[in-house]
Structure formats: C-alpha cells, structure tokens
C-alpha cells in the first residue's frame, strides 16, 4: 500500500548541501523537515574524501571530509530533522509531491517546499568518447576513491589519469601514498581543471608529470588495460604524429561533473544550459515557486564551504516560503558579460545583500570583476588571478540594488 503523508520542507539528498539546508530550514522555524538520502548514512561524497582541506572558509580550519560531514550530521540531528536513509525519491511532481521508495515500502510526501540537493555525478568514459577497446581498468576518479577509501580495494598499480579535475588530483596523491605509481596526468585543456593548490600539493610535491593539451587517443588491452596512447591536441583534435604509448594497468578519469537534475526536470524546473543546474534567484528559488536548489545540483563547486553557505540560505528560504506562502519577487536581472561562463543567481530581489558566484571562461591575471548597471559601475573587484578551476565569489551590498532593473557582470580592467 502506498503510504501518504506531508511535510513542511522536504530536502532531497543528504550530502553537505542537503544537510545544511535541512538544519537551516528547521532552525528557521519550519515545523517538519524531512531529509531523504539514498545511501546508508548522511554525508554524500564527503564520506570518501578522507583528505583534508574542507571547512577553511566556514570553520577556518582544514577538516577531512568525514569530519566536515559529521558536524552537519550532528546539526541535522540536533535540529530534529527527520532523516530517511536508504530511501530513494522516484518522482517529484510540479506541485511538490514526492514518491519515495525504501525497504518500508512506497510513500508519497506532500511537501510545502522542496530543496533539491541531489549533487552531481562524474562524467564517464562513454560521454567523452575515448576510442579503443573496452577492458577492465577504466574507472572514474570518484569510483577509485570510493573503492580505495571505503572498501579497501586497490584498482591498479600503474595508473594514467585523464583530466585534471580536483578529484583526479586528490586521487593521484592518494594512489601514490598507497604504493601505486601514477605515470602522468593528461589534460586536454591548456590549463589545469583543478585548483592550483591541488596541482601543487598532489602532483608537483610527488613529481607526477602533468601534460597539458594532451588527451588519451586510444585505450589498449582486451581484458584489462595494458596501456594508453597519449597524444597532443590542437583544440580538441589529435595532432597526428604526436601519439605515444604509455603502459599502465589503469586509466582513471577525472573529466568533469554533471549536476543530477533528473528530478528537477520532472518538477518542471528550468535548467540553465551552461551550469546544467536550475535557474535560481537570490533565495535559491527555482523557476517553480516553492522548489529550491543548492549545492552541486545547482552548480559544480570548487570547495564545499560555499555549497554549505548557499544551502543554508536555500533552507531558510524554504522555511520562509512555507510560512508566508510566497517570497519577494526577484525582478532584477543579472546579465553574464565578457569573460564569464555564468553568474549565479540569475535574478535577485534587491532586498538583501547577495553573494554572487561565477566562473570565468579562461585563466587571466590582473583583471577585475565588474558589476555595472546602465553603464554605471556598481562594484569593481580586482583579481590578481582568475582561473576557470576556481569559483569567483563577489558580494554586492543591498544598497547597490536601488533603482536598478538589470546588472551586467563581466571581467574588465
């Protein structure tokens, strides 16, 4: 039998964003908050991130992933959020009815507000189309991390890494520490995809070569990976004659993360083409009123602290929506100008200060992020170094929003 119930706020996903959103919603006065997590415990991917560096912004100290997760799991418990583990949301309707499956059976939950916090998934081999054979030994970095850190299983002994995303860099170090040999990291772009600190601490400190403008042109081995052909690229195309064979038993991929918005689409939430996450305002409300989004389902973050901060706003907004039945209109449009891939949020109410997050299109130095309205500069923030690997974060005070309908954000001088 399908059980039926209701909740003021339902949060989908018990990773860092979901935990922070659920606790914040409860603390902001929502009567009943339910947090739904498919795994056996809260924490999401933090549970397998046993390296440190989490919490430097929020707690001013470098915690491990499980330590950071534990703090928010405690907050969730202390706030008396109802937590449902090993439960999967099968369906989310436009009017916020969730269908949840667990060992206890099928259940529908009518939610006053919903917070989407499903996170992201790794881009697999097929999605980037690496040619060659299909042997064992091709893993995504997150899967290697999961096997190694949670299951005590080593996937290989000599590893080539394709892509210089942060998880790949972290795992290059981890594999090396555990006795595997990381032959090299190949990155198709002319610059690393991961944070500069990870390039230094995970590759340079261990003498692991990073080859830029380089990709895997072919995978070799019928049963298990026996090697890869690396090649230099011009743009995305292999330059003939640059191919070289690198023997290895494992190819690890760190080639990007994709927000998991299948449920968001069911709920008729507009998805941004660039971020692949929902379009939101400064309350983190999506195009469907009463549905909010935060964390990596919204945009792929560089560090978890920012995901937590935005999730707390999303949680409070959800509680406010339930209390008031509506939220202030967000009518000031944010336009993405030169040098930026995207800016979040895409429209704001102007009633509060806003922390904008954005990513630049290419590395740059000694530039500024410029906010302007009708030719008038509202804020210019000097940046010594801009990198697509880091999210830029700029605060705009409430006063700057007066008498403006549209704000342009761009990289300028």
């Amino acid at each position: 039998m399908i059980k039926m119930r209701s909740a003021d706020v339902a949060v989908i996903g018990g990773g860092p964003a979901g935990m922070a959103a659920a606790a914040a919603a409860k603390e902001a006065g929502a009567g009943s908050v339910i947090l739904i997590e498919r795994d056996e415990e809260l924490g999401g991917v933090l549970n397998q991130c046993i390296h440190d560096g989490f919490g430097t912004k929020v707690f001013k100290e470098a915690l491990t992933g499980p330590e950071y997760a534990a703090i928010y799991a405690d907050k969730v418990r202390d706030a008396e959020v109802e937590t449902r583990l090993e439960a999967t949301v099968l369906e989310l309707t436009e009017d916020r009815v969730l269908t949840v499956l667990s060992e206890e059976g099928m259940e529908t939950i009518e939610a006053g507000a919903v917070v989407l916090a499903m996170g992201c998934r790794e881009r697999p081999r097929g999605a980037i189309g690496i040619p060659g054979s299909r042997p064992a030994g091709v893993y995504t970095a997150g899967a290697v991390q999961n096997y190694m850190n949670l299951r005590n299983l080593a996937v290989g002994r000599r590893v080539v890494i394709l892509g210089s995303g942060d998880i790949g860099l972290i795992m290059a170090r981890r594999l090396t520490l555990e006795g595997a040999e990381v032959a090299c990291v190949a990155e198709i772009l002319p610059y690393p995809s991961g944070l500069a600190r990870n390039v230094v601490q995970c590759l340079e400190d261990f003498n692991i070569p990073l080859f830029l403008n380089t990709t895997v042109a072919e995978i070799h081995g019928a049963k298990r990976v026996e090697g890869v052909t690396l090649a230099s690229v011009s743009g995305m195309d292999v330059i003939p004659g640059t191919e070289r064979f690198v023997p290895c038993d494992t190819l690890m991929l760190s080639v990007g993360l994709i927000p998991e918005n299948e449920l968001s689409r069911q709920a008729n939430v507009s998805i941004d083409r660039v971020t692949a996450g929902p379009v939101v305002d400064d309350a983190f409300q999506t195009s469907n009123p009463g549905v909010f989004a935060c964390g990596n389902v919204l945009q792929v973050h560089d560090i978890v602290d920012y995901a937590t901060m935005e999730a707390e706003i999303a949680g409070r907004s959800a509680a406010a929506y339930v209390a008031d039945g509506t939220l202030p209109e967000a009518e000031i449009q944010i336009k993405v100008g030169d040098g930026l891939r995207y800016v979040l949020p895409s429209h704001v109410s102007g009633l509060d200060a806003v922390n904008f997050t954005m990513r630049v299109t290419k590395p740059d130095q000694n530039r500024a992020i410029v906010f302007s309205s009708g030719g008038k500069v509202l804020r210019r923030l000097k940046q010594q170094a801009l990198s697509p690997a880091s999210m830029a974060r700029v605060r705009l005070g409430k006063a700057r929003f007066s008498d403006t309908r549209e704000i342009l954000v761009e990289v300028g001088d």
Partner: protein
C-alpha cells in the same frame, strides 16, 4: 555432470540458446558450449535489437523465409520469457525524390516476402508520425518491433537451463572427432561426448566447421559501431528510422533506433576487419554516426551520447564481393551428424525462433525423443522494477523489502534484481553478467554510483574480491586491497600480494 550428451550446441548466442530452449522441451541431454564468460557476449549482444519485418531480404531466400516466420513467433516468445518487446514500427526514409523508386521496390519485395502491412507515406505524414524527422517520403512498416537482444539470449539460456540443459561457460571447443552418435568435442574443461552437434558458433562457425572437416565456409568479420544517446532525449523519435540502404553495401545503413529501455541507438557502421574479436570504437566512426543520423534527426546533440560499443557481423561475403549472402543451415552429406549454421547475421535475431524450430526438427527426426512432461515455460528471474506500474511496484516492495532498495539510480534497479542476477542459473559472475541481466551500470553514470555497491553484493554472495572480473579471466577489477598495495601483502588474508 554427465559428459555424454545427445546434443552439443557450440555457441551461446541467440541462435544457439534458442535451439537449446527448443530442445529442452524434449527428454534430451543437451549441452551448450560457450567460449566466453557468459552467453550473448558476441554478435547477439551487440546489435540494433530489432525484430525485422522482412523487407530487406530477397524473396525466396532462406533469410526471407526464416525472417518472416521468426517475426511471427517473436512476440509470444518474448512474452513467455518476460523479455521486452515493443511493436514501435519503422520508417525507411528517402531524403529526396530520386530515392522513391527504392522505396517502391522495397515495398513490393516486402509484400512478396509476406510482410503483413507496408505503406508509402509522404513528407507530411512523416512529420505527423515523427515530428523531428526530416524526409521526402518513407516506407512505413508498422509491425517492425524492438527487443533487448542480450536479455532475450540470456532468458533463452536460463530457461533452457531451468529445463535441464547444461550451459558450460568459458568452454571453447578446440577439436572435434568421431562420428554421428559418438562425437568427441575437446574443451579446456574436458572432453564432451555427443551424438549430434550443432555449430552455431557465429563468428567462429567457419572455424568450427573446419574442425569437423568441412572447409567450405569463410567468415568475413564486419564491424558495426553504435553510439547510445541518453534517455532524456529518448522521446525525439518513437519509431525506428532507417535510410534507404546503400547500394551493394554490407548493412542497412546508419539507422536511428529507439531501445526498449528508452535510449536511442545510432549505427551501425560497416567496416570489414581482420580480427573478429576487435570490438574497438573509433573517433572517426563516432563522428560519422552523428553526422549521418543528423541528416534525418537534426536535433541530435553530441552531448547526449552516453557511451559507444561495437558488434561484429559474421558475413559470408567479403568487402570486395559485397552483396547478399544467404543463411547457411546445412548438414554436409559427407560429414553427417553436424548441423552447421553459418553466416547468421541480420536478420538472425528475428529469425532465431524459426531457426530453432527448424534445427530442433532436424534433431527430433534423428533421435525421436519423448516430450519433457514437466517443461517450465516462463521466466524465473526478478521482475524488472522500472517497468512495473506504481501499484505493482508497491506490492512488490510490500512483499519483499529487497525491492525497496535502489542500487542503480540511473536505471532504477533494485537490490532484488541485482541479487537475482548474481544468482543466475548459468553461474555467470562477471560484472558484465550482472550488468546485462539487471541493466545496472548501463545508464548515464555508467556504474559510477552503483558499481561499488554491486561489488559489495558480489563479495557478500561469496565471490572473493580478487576474483571479481569485468568479463572473465584476466579482466580483473582489483589488483589488491589498498593496504596490501602499500604493505606488500593482502591485509585481509595476510597472504602475499597477488601476482598479476
């Protein structure tokens, strides 16, 4: 296990498994000898998954006869075995007026072959049926259907096993000797004695025939690559969309096929290759597939590709000869007792039930077996949760909590289905065996999330971690424990690091 059988079937593809299941209705000792780690690992697992109507084959050929007959048997077979089957229909689309005569000749040939309904429709009707498809005119074949080719092959093999057939995996036949009534087949797992042999070895059928002293057939492997598009764009088409087949070509042209699981396939290419096991995918063909398919379906976006794969056709005609090669299904008079099935390429999947009926008739004529009184018809595996209505899903989980635990989120596969796949009757334990039985790891994340959880379940079910493999011996998933890697010994057992 007896090593003396009435019938030995060489090859666990869809044809071999269909024959095995047809024979399992009789009181016969039957063995299937499959060289790979599981059934359906060759051509049968890697094709378009189409139950063809019989438009594309010359009137009067064996292919035409078995195709049309097989198509008529197909739906009920799928229903019996709980295998997906959807009669979605097919359009063969002409891009301009010059191809219209080709449509007319295909329609005439199809009707002559016994295809029940075939219409020619104009551009407006194409738009009405398939709003995203661009074309000048098309043949519309409403009875064309799609299925899941590896699910069908596995279901046939498991049903045969349920009814007493021995399925021996990782058992390539390396030599054949003896005579009718007393053949000996050499395999790495020992000698097998059989009264009759069926050579349904697909790509290796020419080689198997040579082992039996028949030199007349040569197989020309012809690779076809596919790309798979994400389910989120699966509703771009509802019917199969084919081009007018290239003249003298080796295939039906690059087509766009919806799958029973809601994805879209683009392919296959046609590339003659030397090594029949070369299932590489290539950059050039991926580009070619996307380009050619886009001529009919301009909304295709390369970003929606989730993965690519290749299958290999066992052709009887070489690249230079080209053209049509009919199925060979014959017992050679000077070497009797062995039924050779050679060149069973498209429409082999569709024809498989009819081929099985034909070959089972050959066996029963020779051995006159009694009917097995306790033949069990249906499937014995877990329900595919994702395909059930919400009501059925609810009652499944109410009766069995393992249906309430989702392991693979992308494809909505529950713990019960994974366990059912692990416990399969054939004893196949590779990761791919679980994948092909449950659809886990086949979605947009390609196992990134559920892979470790499936590994857990396999270990819980008694497979040691160092024996876990993707697709048989040598395709190891893990080299060691993490600690073992560091310390030079396996921390779980204290034994020396595994040598690989």
């Amino acid at each position: 296990m007896t090593d003396k059988f009435d019938v030995a079937i060489i090859g666990g593809g869809v044809v071999g498994c269909a024959i095995a299941r047809a024979l399992s209705r009789f009181q016969l000792d039957v063995v299937v000898l499959e060289r790979d780690v599981d059934v359906a690992r060759g051509t049968s697992g890697k094709n378009s998954g189409v139950a063809h109507t019989g438009i594309n084959v010359p009137t009067g050929s064996l292919k035409a006869k078995l195709n049309v007959h097989g198509a008529a048997m197909f739906e009920s077979l799928c229903r019996e075995l709980d295998v997906p089957y959807k009669q979605v229909g097919k359009l063969i689309v002409a891009l301009d007026e010059s191809q219209v005569p080709d449509l007319e000749s295909m329609q005439a040939r199809g009707l002559a072959n016994g295809v029940p309904v075939l219409d020619i429709i104009d551009a407006d009707e194409i738009k009405r049926l398939e709003p995203n498809i661009t074309g000048y005119a098309a043949v519309h074949a409403p009875t064309a259907a799609i299925t899941c080719p590896y699910s069908l092959t596995i279901a046939l093999a498991e049903s045969a096993a349920e009814n007493g057939v021995e399925v021996m995996l990782e058992s390539p036949v390396t030599a054949i000797s003896g005579e009718p009534g007393d053949f000996t087949l050499t395999t790495p797992k020992g000698a097998i004695n059989a009264a009759l042999i069926i050579n349904s070895a697909g790509l290796a059928s020419g080689e198997v025939a040579r082992m039996a002293g028949v030199e007349r057939w040569r197989i020309f492997p012809c690779r076809g690559e596919y790309v798979i598009l994400d389910k989120s764009v699966g509703d771009m088409i509802t019917r199969m969309v084919y081009p007018v087949p290239p003249k003298g070509g080796a295939g039906l042209g690059i087509h766009i096929t919806p799958t029973v699981d809601g994805n879209i396939l683009l392919g296959p290419s046609t590339d003659y290759i030397e090594d029949p096991e070369d299932v590489d995918t290539t950059v050039d063909v991926r580009k070619q597939l996307l380009k050619e398919a886009s001529e009919f379906l301009p909304t295709i976006n390369p970003r929606d590709v989730i993965t690519a794969y290749s299958g290999v056709r066992p052709k009887l005609t070489s690249a230079s000869e080209g053209g049509f090669g009919d199925f060979v299904i014959e017992e050679v008079p000077e070497r009797p007792g062995i039924m050779h099935l050679v060149g069973i390429e498209s429409p082999g999947l569709t024809a498989a039930p009819a081929i099985a009926e034909m070959v089972a008739g050959w066996v029963t004529d020779k051995l006159s077996p009694a009917v097995r009184p306790d033949f069990k018809e249906g499937a014995h595996t877990a329900k595919r949760f994702r395909e059930q209505s919400r009501e059925v899903q609810t009652s499944l989980v109410d009766n069995d909590p393992d249906y309430g635990r989702v392991i693979c989120r992308c494809e909505l596969v529950t713990r019960r289905e994974i366990l059912s796949a692990i416990e399969n009757r054939l004893g196949a334990r590779s990761i791919n065996s679980i994948k092909y039985r449950s659809r886990s790891m086949m979605g947009r994340c390609q196992g990134g999330f559920c892979g470790p959880r499936i590994v857990d379940l396999l270990i819980e079910e008694g497979v040691p971690f160092d024996e876990l493999n993707l697709k048989g011996d040598g395709s190891w998933m893990f080299f060691d424990t993490s600690k073992g890697l560091r310390e030079g010994h396996d921390s779980r057992t204290g034994e020396a690091v595994i040598e690989r």
